[in-house]
Symmetry: C2
Subunit: 425 residues, 2 copies
DNA sequence: ACAGTTTCCCGTAAATGC
DNA sequence: TGCATTTACGGGAAACTG
């Protein structure tokens, strides 16, 4: 017998969320056709924390048509439920570990009778991490990656009590794979270098290659994320999610530089003509944001590097990023809108890069079912244009006062209705 | 003994969703202090469809401190689960009714021994509707409203096999109450009249008052909603939800006319000066939308009535409606933005009405943690401005072609990344 | 008090049943 | 096949619990 597989989240095997169905399969590697329908397999989970497996947890092995007659048993619709003991609380034997570093084994047990002799057989999955909420996925998945990157041991559930260090090369490969496995593009050397600086701090390339990375609670954890209260993995996962759900085509095209430090950004943009811009991810936002940075000349002819506040999934829901780029305008003192974005770095005209990803402008057209006799106009189509007003034109928004009060958080919506500011008199 | 109460959704008692906790309470109206801790109550549900009650379903009555010593038992953390029978399928005795019209009774049973005589006592809740998904709530709640509007019968579970008709006056009161019970404002006569026209078609006021409304499958159901595939109740519920979550303050102020026909809108706006506008709900969108309609003069001096495509919750998430109103612009042929909105009907300057609900403009400010030595600019704040470009300036968006292809649905997001249009050559 | 963790449950999407 | 209904589960928020 041998290693079973453990799909759940399609892209995140070996992480199981309580209450969510998972599937797994055992195969008998040695062929014993005569045992067809003879082996009854039982799935269990280790007892370090008390989980119950719900669903049909015993099954008889049978021959796979597809796989040249080897015996297998597939368990579907299994779920895990934590058994809170009477007095409550976690029944964790190793309370020193946080949940996402706690490793568990799914075991498969059976008995074979051979020449009157009972033989107990047992095999198990690779270590799995059990989570209770999807928000634990990024860290759980990081644990799976770290384990499989650094050991071939099939069942070292105490791996994280003393996690081994990894080299930057190993980490870089794994990071790039997070992108290449779910999009058409992995990470470039430049992108990886930016991430390395984030994780390792400033050092030379040679040093980086030699450097050994520590696990979560150290370099990859909260501490190195400048006390922002979320781990590197959470930050990166949200970016991967942003890429997959909102800007996949642009990412696949290679239009998104993404990971680039502000210093390097300035260095490569400064020599470029005004209007040259690049796209990069927000470094500070946990939820994953993307922004553009461009070169322009100020009134004195001095080169300026500008960025807009990063766009989040929230905003990308009502407008695609390509459309935001194409439509973005700066409002000048005479209320004229001009786009500061002309060439995607190095020198691709923005229309060439993003035009094809914009939906066509809808021409005004009578509303369906509208009364042809009436002269009521059809609905006017609205374009949300992202505009950055120049300070000199704030007077165009008469009642919106110009306060120093900057609230850098994202636009959280409806609170202004619930907590109206006091009216001015 | 008497009627228990049945909270679940705070505002929607008597609707229970399977798998969601609910609470109920029985009180003994006659005082028998000597029975304290003597009466064991059991909760059950009728057997018309087979539901199981999960949770602690027996409890002993005890004295309430708060309620001058009457006996009561409160059941918390109860949930309902449908027991699918072996062969699958609904075990509904009355298959003619749709789920949201199927009424069930929660019963409370107990036994009293009095002078050696066993007395079975039983009471029950008002009829409840059991749903399995929250999307069934609007129709389920409508059933509860209809039942309680038209009968005092405590347990007529077959009510909807032959639902009685209601008068418009009754319906109007209930509709208004849907607003007044969760906001500070019910419906005006004008708003109710619009709804009446929607439900009853064109008729005089006198006729309306006399008119009797039929239940769901007839006037209040899909049919009268012009084959749009959703019931009046779903439409109205989404509007109530929109009001509560996104425009509560504006609603409470009475700024939202909301329910007004396009004809009446034209009639009241036409005599008004250009720039006069009103706010009304979308009539065609299931998800609840709100738009503004204004008067303007075209180049020939002719009065025009214009509306924008309604804003949905999706869009109101990233920008409050007050801000949308304040910022909305029409782009003229010279790229100048002008606001067509000046006076909220009848003649309230828009700044006076909506200014206080706009968040203050944030002045540009260095990013926290930014390097003071560098000349990298802080993030520029973005304002999403809703702009309606005039046809003559479509050339300002060079690669967004002007096609006749109008897609009236809401902006569903990221599809443009997944299904890019083919590039032009 | 507080942080790590789990539970609750809406709302969308998919699956299922009739 | 199509429609009615249920199930699945991510994600935000509240509740829990040492």
């Amino acid at each position: 017998e041998r290693q079973p597989c453990m799909p759940m989240h399609p892209d995140r095997p070996l992480v199981i969320k309580t209450g969510v169905q998972f599937t797994n399969k055992v195969r008998l590697l040695v062929k014993f056709p005569e045992l067809n329908y003879q082996l009854k397999i039982k799935v269990c989970i280790d007892k370090s924390r008390k989980f119950n497996i719900l669903g049909t947890n015993t099954k008889v092995m049978n021959m796979e048509e597809s796989n040249n007659g080897s015996l297998s048993a597939e368990f579907k619709h299994l779920t895990l439920r934590e058994q809170r003991c009477g007095n409550g609380g976690r029944t964790n034997s190793d309370a020193s570990l946080i949940v996402t570093e706690e490793l568990h084994l799914i075991t498969f047990e059976t008995e074979v009778y051979h020449q009157g002799l009972k033989i107990d057989l047992e095999t198990h999955s690779l270590p799995v991490v059990v989570i209770s909420n999807i928000c634990q996925m990024p860290n759980a998945w990081a644990s799976i990656l770290w384990y499989n990157m650094l050991t071939n041991h099939p069942k070292n559930v105490n791996f994280f009590t003393k996690p081994p260090v990894g080299t930057w090369d190993q980490v870089a490969e794994v990071l790039s794979w997070q992108f290449s496995s779910t999009t058409k593009r992995g990470l470039t050397i430049e992108q990886l270098t930016t991430l390395a600086e984030k994780l390792l701090g400033e050092m030379t390339c040679l040093e980086k290659a030699m450097c050994q990375l520590l696990w979560l609670s150290d370099h990859l954890g909260q501490e190195n994320m400048a006390g922002k209260g979320f781990s590197f993995w959470v930050w990166l996962d949200n970016i991967i999610d942003l890429v997959k759900k909102y800007i996949l085509a642009l990412w696949n095209e290679g239009y998104i530089m993404g990971f680039i430090s502000k210093e390097r950004e300035r260095a490569i943009l400064s020599p470029k003509p005004p209007g040259t811009f690049l796209l990069r991810f927000s470094e500070s936002s946990k939820e994953g944001g993307i922004t553009f940075t461009w070169v322009e000349k100020d009134i004195n002819g001095k080169t300026q590097i500008q960025s807009v506040e990063p766009y989040t999934k929230q905003q990308l829901n009502s407008m695609s990023f390509a459309e935001i780029i194409m439509g973005y305008k700066i409002m000048d003192a005479t209320n004229i809108l001009v786009s500061p974005l002309v060439y995607l770095f190095p020198e691709i005209p923005k229309e060439e890069a993003f035009g094809k990803y914009c939906r066509p402008e809808a021409a005004p057209e009578p509303e369906i079912g509208g009364d042809p006799m009436s002269t009521i106009q059809p609905y006017l189509k609205t374009k949300f244009i992202c505009v950055t007003p120049c300070p000199s034109v704030f007077m165009d928004f008469p009642d919106c006062e110009l306060l120093g009060n900057t609230f850098p958080g994202t636009n959280s919506g409806n609170t202004s209705d619930l907590f109206p500011m006091s009216p001015r008199t």
